[in-house]
Symmetry: C2
Subunit: 406 residues, 2 copies
């Protein structure tokens, strides 16, 4: 991992091109880095596992010492009085919050982040965790926090070319994170390598105990899932996923087709219904107090869903979760696209079709970089596992990662 001073040097050089940062705490970070060595344990007596590591935090997440703007004019001068729970956890583990990263307005819709894809400035980094993905992919920080309600974490990781991890829903407190959809919002993070992601997962007790030991590839079983939305994957992504499956099979792993049954046919619609229906209650206070300072596309998309439709979607989703868990439990991980293809031109988040279903299922997901598409841009491969199988997912990801060369 790279540390404080190197991060600041890299940011100075690259930020004018990438625009990943909404705010940077240069002096605070340097002083925290100087003091890092002094306290090796936190108040609970735990080792500070992220000691001295500079971290970017998505600007929908509260920080006491830096503004938290949500990319919204309503919150232009907003300074929360305290840190979000995830920021507390990072600091207790010794990490240094270097700054806030750019986001789509309220991590929802509306104003895109000003961030550019570090691989090609004419391309979108995607969103809503745009700045966090770009900052890690561009070597500005080794670690950054994002969040996902639809595809806001995995998809930017795929487009920018870094590792992105959404843990099992509910394992990281969302206190101090701008809410969107209470039963979907999940905090996660980006890193350069699976091992760094796993370090954080252990520090936050997402994984109970040690990580499972890596299995010989011949003992690994992977399910290749084309999802009900395979036709929305670009040819390059389709062949990338197939190619990875073939490589792993050639190396000895068992790779089987994994099909979501007909009961999963509407899984993306369910996610959209819940996101918007719950989102309406989350945004109601802003709709009332600041209707003119919320982007038109938020007003258009986040509308009241009828109670009966919302509750039916919530119940259906709840019923699908254990079904998926049981199906996926036979596998070390499910292999599936992280995004439809390479990053499109422009600055919009683009299509979350390969993410919303897993968010709905509360399943832990990781996107791995390495593959390159026909336009020379990253194609992320996603691994998914049953709820709370985060530990074995991370172990499987470490086993799969070496097979993702170009």
């Amino acid at each position: 991992m790279i540390f404080g001073k190197d991060s600041l040097r890299r940011i100075e050089e690259r930020e004018p091109h990438v625009r990943a940062w909404a705010a940077i705490d240069r002096d605070g970070a340097l002083s925290a880095a100087r003091n890092a060595d002094k306290v090796r344990r936190n108040a609970a007596g735990k080792m500070r596992q992220l000691l001295g590591i500079p971290v970017g935090v998505k600007d929908t997440i509260s920080t006491a010492d830096l503004p938290t703007v949500y990319n919204s004019p309503i919150y232009r001068d907003h300074r929360p009085g305290s840190d979000a729970a995830i920021v507390d956890l990072l600091r207790s583990a010794g990490a240094i919050v270097l700054g806030k990263t750019e986001t789509v307005e309220f991590a929802a819709h509306g104003r895109p982040a000003p961030t550019r894809n570090p691989c090609d400035p004419t391309r979108t980094p995607s969103g809503s965790s745009s700045g966090s993905a770009a900052a890690v992919a561009d070597f500005m920080v080794p670690l950054a926090v994002g969040s996902q309600t639809g595809g806001s974490l995995i998809r930017p990781g795929s487009y920018c070319g870094c590792v992105g991890f959404k843990p099992t829903y509910g394992t990281v407190s969302t206190e101090g994170v701008k809410p969107f959809s209470v039963s979907l919002d999940t905090v996660g993070w980006y890193g350069r390598a699976v091992e760094d992601i796993a370090l954080v997962a252990r520090a936050f007790e997402i994984v109970e105990g040690a990580l499972p030991r890596q299995r010989r590839l011949a003992a690994m079983r992977l399910g290749l899932c084309r999802t009900p939305y395979w036709d929305r994957a670009e040819p390059a992504m389709r062949s990338a996923v197939e190619r990875v499956g073939q490589r792993l099979a050639a190396a000895g792993a068992t790779v089987e087709n994994f099909e979501l049954g007909p009961e999963f046919a509407e899984v993306a619609d369910l996610q959209e219904t819940i996101m918007c229906g719950e989102g309406y209650f989350a945004f109601l206070n802003l709709f009332r107090a600041h209707p003119d300072n919320i982007s038109e596309s938020i007003h258009r998309r986040i509308v009241r869903v009828s109670n009966s439709k919302l509750v039916a979607a919530q119940d259906k989703a709840a019923a699908l979760r254990p079904i998926f868990d049981r199906m996926a439990d036979r596998y070390d991980a499910i292999l599936t696209p992280s995004a439809p293809g390479e990053a499109p031109r422009g600055n919009l988040p683009a299509d979350a079709i390969f993410n919303g279903l897993w968010t709905l299922l509360h399943a832990p997901c990781i996107t791995l970089p390495g593959l390159i598409g026909p336009q020379g841009l990253p194609l992320g491969i996603q691994l998914v596992a049953p709820r709370h199988a985060d530990g074995s997912l991370l172990t499987a990801a470490a086993g799969v990662a070496p097979f993702l060369g170009p």
Copy 2:
């Protein structure tokens, strides 16, 4: 309803005995009251339905202009930079936030509120929404906000003798409310009459459109539910519930026994598992950073639940919700105890056994005062309905309330 000046006068007189308030904004409230008439519509052009009404807000809910202490030494000087969503909504509707009301530590366990039951200072007001219930019951404010994860809203309403309402889970944003259990935490409020509660429910769009019209009692159908925990109700509460059923039947309503089937046998255990399991993730940042400033009983109760046990409880709860909805849908409301009996001596929250199951089921609940127990203290009667039947629940409550005389 009574207004700002009268509220302050009443508080001045009674607060030394009741101790309902953690903080009061005397000047701010008076100035807001003077200005109330000037703006009759909020930014979205909606009528301010709560114009000039003074409100108490539980001190686990963020306010920008008043401290938010959670009854925790960790947050002694805490001033959040912005209002919680519920506070925004109240202000947009024209309400005046008069002050913050006392709570049990983090609305969880540990330090009890200093509040006394206004009906008898030797008795507990219960918790965790102790101050809000006591302030409304003691005529200090006509309206106060509380929250419920187990029985924190309905039970204090029962003990103190006011109306308390927990709407359907998810219909009020919990942004800015100290989290405990993400799938259970619900914001609600106290009032003196069902009509006042209903006014707020409409202002917050919990009820879609107008309230259903009140039905002739002869057309009403009520289910009398003794729950699997009837033996934990005191004789006085048992006979109170039976008596109300008989009165309503005598007046022409259909009152039937409503039994939760064997699949509901462990419903209280499921609630406890989820509350503590999810609570562990909610408190982890504080456990790490401030272990010595959290009460021992929180450390003892909120412990890590194994992933498999937590997820099994979550799935079971999710499966029970639509089953209860279908069973209860035949009734205008389910009639059941609000608490085991009259308020016990002391200052502890006491037994939430008649509340946790309904919180788990995400069902809207209302407690109605009026009945008096053998020790001269209030006995609350609870009405419950399927998810999102908040409107018909409130209409049923208005119909039942006149039958709750002593």
